[in-house]
Symmetry: C2
Subunit: 311 residues, 2 copies
């Protein structure tokens, strides 16, 4: 085709506002080149960074990302997933899904699915998770390395990864020979939960010298309780969070925490889905990523104090 007529056609298309109809194309090609992403909660900045990774990895491979959300409501999540399936997304990533296993399994029979931030034990579904157990171990090792022995945990309750984190805490305490200093306060990953947990810890008979809150949000709550008790961080009490959210990075807070490779999580999930789209036979896997310690200003060496002769 001559360059001239080519240009003429393009100009005419522009003029008329022509735009290829993705629906018709998807119908005949039997692929949409869209990867659906169902995000349980767009308020959670965690998923925003995962989305960055998903987006970049998809673009690199010639796919586009289409997002729906369930607004933290399992029923709405199911509708959001259904919407993606009806649109014939070539693959689906479920981020933080609270969906029943059966729903996910049924969907997985139709398209490749990857799970992020929630860990249903399902075959035929890729799962990408941060090694929360290992992250908690890093936290305890950091605090123990600073000389702390009374290291308390504020738990995350039913939250995603909370169980792994408390398991990791317990294991690391044991390995550090601090088994009898293990102390776990209930919590729920919220600021209020962290505040209450820290209050109980500080009012207890044996005040911990370090508090490990199992996410940043609850660490900020704990920070409040510590200040209210007239104690300083980190001189009197060391404090750690988990997740390395923007909150932790705030100069005003500057929280020592554990970083999850969020972007990388997204990249891995997208790679997994695209691989299974393009190689329908290949098996789904479980991908575990390593967390990282981020030292900021809320942890410090335990001041050496006069000790009993046992030394």
């Amino acid at each position: 085709m001559s360059p001239a007529s080519r240009a003429a056609v393009i100009a005419a298309a522009e003029e008329l506002g022509y735009r290829a109809n993705a629906a018709a194309r998807s119908l005949v090609q039997r692929r949409s080149y869209n990867i659906g992403v169902m995000v349980s909660d767009l308020h959670n900045i965690f998923f925003a960074e995962v989305l960055d990774g998903l987006y970049a990895a998809a673009a690199e491979r010639g796919y586009r990302t289409l997002i729906t959300t369930g607004n933290r409501d399992p029923l709405a999540e199911e509708r959001a997933l259904e919407q993606l399936l009806e649109l014939r997304a070539d693959g689906v990533v479920l981020a933080g899904a609270r969906l029943p296993a059966e729903v996910v399994r049924a969907a997985a029979r139709t398209v490749p699915i990857a799970l992020v931030g929630s860990d249903l034990q399902l075959r035929g579904v890729d799962v990408v998770v941060d090694d929360d157990f290992q992250g908690a171990v890093l936290a305890v090792e950091h605090l123990a390395g600073l000389g702390h022995r009374d290291i308390a945990l504020i738990d995350g309750g039913q939250g995603a990864g909370a169980k792994e984190r408390s398991d990791g805490y317990r294991a690391a305490m044991r390995d550090a020979g601090l088994l009898r200093h293990v102390r776990i306060e209930p919590g729920d990953f919220t600021e209020g939960g962290g505040y209450e947990g820290a209050r109980r810890l500080l009012n207890g008979s044996r005040r911990p010298t370090a508090i490990f809150a199992s996410n940043d949000q609850s660490a900020v709550g704990a920070l409040d309780a510590i200040n209210e008790a007239g104690l300083r961080v980190p001189q009197d009490v060391s404090l750690m969070g988990y997740d390395n959210t923007a909150l932790a990075a705030l100069g005003h807070i500057s929280l020592t925490t554990i970083h999850q490779p969020r972007n990388q999580i997204g990249v891995m999930a997208m790679k997994a889905v695209v691989r299974r789209i393009e190689h329908p036979g290949s098996p789904a896997r479980r991908h575990v990523l390593a967390p990282k310690l981020i030292v900021r200003d809320t942890t410090a060496r335990l001041p050496s104090r006069p000790r009993p002769a046992s030394r």
Copy 2:
């Protein structure tokens, strides 16, 4: 049709994993019942709440929401919008778009479009904005009402709404008879910008007794600078932000700020789009919503000090 055969058909469909093909339906019905939402930046929690409103209003009217993002990159934003148009979304909401006016105008010839959080002056496009001018007036009136006269502003630079906020500040200062106390430091809506701005203000010859940062993020930066200077909030300096983000609500920060009705903004935008989908003739409008003062713990009455005889 008999209930029995009806049930049999549904069972068979389930069995075979049948799912209506939205692409085919959209093709023949010439509508998709999807409203596309292009969000410039999913890291900004502001838009998450707008999305809540969009989502709820859409669901109420039988539409589904489909989200794409431009990751703060105008080129990617354009592709994201294009993706929605190719998918034949029945309408589009642009949230925080940094798109050239010409692109938006061209798109608006194809489908009803509503703009949120960015204010291109375009006919044929609905715009929903918070009255930032009025919000700034509320802030200044609050501070002046507490007896403050040296009220400084940390500006938002090129950020969305920054100009309206500084205009409102100026106007309110004038109306309060404080024109000669007007002082505006440059800023950029970031924590760092707020920090630097506050430092300059505090080191200046005439230290302000109140600082109005034009968003919460920069207010938190200012908070750091104030603490570093050995001053207390609110005893020595009153501080205000704007936006009422989660940051401001944090117990540890508890920032007096201006609330934008984010959810309501989403609802209005979706209503506008759906109205224009269903009544193709109806004109696009500009919708202005009223902000609200949220008093927390960073503002206090100016302590009365000995004054010159002028009284």
